[in-house]
Subunit: 312 residues, 2 copies
């Protein structure tokens, strides 16, 4: 059955029937708007959009994984502020001939990724469109803490990383060259493993700045350096090339550090901490903040691509 066949309200009924709601949902889908708990009287809110052909391909990823990835991209932004995600809203634009089953699997993926952090899909909108597009808004709660912005890094701070970098970018390259293995890399592209608890944990332990690595580690640390008015230097030795990535890089003629330092789709978290901080679980030191500007690797500019621009 196509989405045009069941119609807008039929599709909304099918999707909402598959969703479940956590304790932060005071009023779920079905009215003009949802009502979500915002216990500390502030709400953290972020929107990201995925466009078919630009952010995902249906022949590379199933609907469930695309749903998980769309949710992850937004939930990662919320935890990168030090907040705990509470809710997602989803604006879904789909070709009229798309099967309802595809949309239901997408909803399952969105719901599962949200549920993995205690959040729920509370609302949204659907329309037919020639271009399959998934726009997600994530909400979160700061539990009384100040938000951890990009602007607080200070000279002398440690730079630390939670989660993987380069795996998803390597998987993307593998898929774009027509391969389906190594599985580790392809799966990392299809479904990022975001270190969600690391965000609020870093905030509680005094992180001075934090960012979701979505444009590539060096590009995103560049955003931190610019917003904080500091320089950041990364230790290349802090990054180990896993065997699958080493082999894939060799086979494809790619420098694996391009993936590790400039690939963004894993949604790792990068943060800065005061120098004496004993780094919390899940975080590892990868460099140091200094006076100045810009981002360097072992003291020198990185000789590789800077990041990804979704208009080019």
């Amino acid at each position: 059955m196509s989405v045009a066949g069941v119609g807008e309200f039929g599709l909304i009924d099918r999707v909402t029937a598959r969703l479940s709601y956590g304790s932060t949902v005071l009023l779920g889908p079905g009215d003009d708007a949802a009502v979500v708990a915002a216990p500390d009287a502030r709400v953290v809110a972020s929107t990201d959009v995925l466009v078919e052909g630009r952010h995902f391909r249906r022949d590379w990823s199933g609907a469930y994984d695309i749903g998980r990835r769309a949710a992850a991209a937004n939930l990662a932004d919320v935890v990168a502020m030090g907040a705990t995600p509470t809710a997602l809203l989803v604006a879904l634009c789909v070709p009229a001939d798309l099967s309802t089953g595809w949309v239901e699997e997408l909803a399952d993926g969105l719901g599962a990724e949200a549920a993995s952090v205690g959040a729920s899909v509370v609302g949204g909108d659907m329309s037919a469109s020639p271009t399959l597009t998934i726009a997600v808004t994530a909400l979160g709660d700061l539990a009384g803490r100040p938000p951890v912005t990009r602007a607080g890094a200070r000279p002398g701070d440690l730079v630390a990383l939670a989660g993987r970098t380069g795996y998803a970018a390597a998987g993307y390259t593998v898929l774009s060259r027509g391969f389906r293995t190594p599985r580790l890399l392809v799966e990392a592209y299809r479904r990022p493993e975001v270190p969600y608890p690391a965000g609020p944990l870093a905030a509680r332990l005094g992180a001075t700045a934090m960012i979701d690595v979505s444009d590539g580690l060096l590009a995103d640390l560049g955003h931190v350096a610019k917003a904080s008015g500091v320089a950041v230097d990364i230790d290349r030795d802090a990054f180990e090339v896993p065997p699958q990535m080493r082999d894939a890089a060799q086979a494809l003629g790619v420098d694996p550090y391009t993936w590790l330092l400039a690939g963004g789709d894993d949604h790792a978290l990068a943060a800065t901490f005061p120098p004496a901080t004993a780094l919390p679980e899940g975080w590892r030191a990868i460099g140091r903040v200094a006076e100045g500007s810009g981002v360097t690797v072992d003291g020198s500019p990185f000789d590789g691509p800077a990041g990804w621009d979704h208009f080019r």
Copy 2:
């Protein structure tokens, strides 16, 4: 200059430079997420998406008016819960060859409509896409009141309307037949005049149910009737056909009550009130709630289109 020419970050800089921020914005665009005040520890959230060719046409409406309309569609959902809007987030997908000026005008329209209710555009995302798509999420605050849902209407309640119906639908019909006048109707389609203050006002005065009229008055009252488990009867005489609409209807061979009762894009608010309520300013009685189910006009089913389905 095209959006591809300035790039994703260049376009974001151009747009955010044009925005201004009200007192509910604790942290605006530029970080992983925005932080918005949620004074009563709950946040109302709604998402609506507009797709070019389906919800708007660039040859019918300028970018500024499309921006105002995209904001209005979402802000209306928030006030229909009885809440006061605080913030908008916008996911914008644009063809790579679109001019940056068009996007800047769209941002001006979004910002102006938000500012008209004291809200601000606090964040979002941009991507290139073959299909121009504007997904907006609106947040709002209930100021300690319970949300006014669709489910609270009781037999005996008054049915009341704030704002216009039929004007935008008439304007749409006029434009779709190749005309550009009457100006009153065409302008109503291009830029809805939403009765924003009427939403929180109705909530304070005890409205039992409320809805934004976006699918058409009868279809939306059908949502209220279904959610509340009641019947709704509308008085046809409560609707006056303005002269411009009467003339356009005659010229185009349309029953103007089709526009008045089944046209939705004006974003009027419909609500139910306890029988003895002295209706607040901006609201007028248009019917009555009864035992039963469904929506009737002067006691009979309406012989016309039921509403709009965005998949068909």
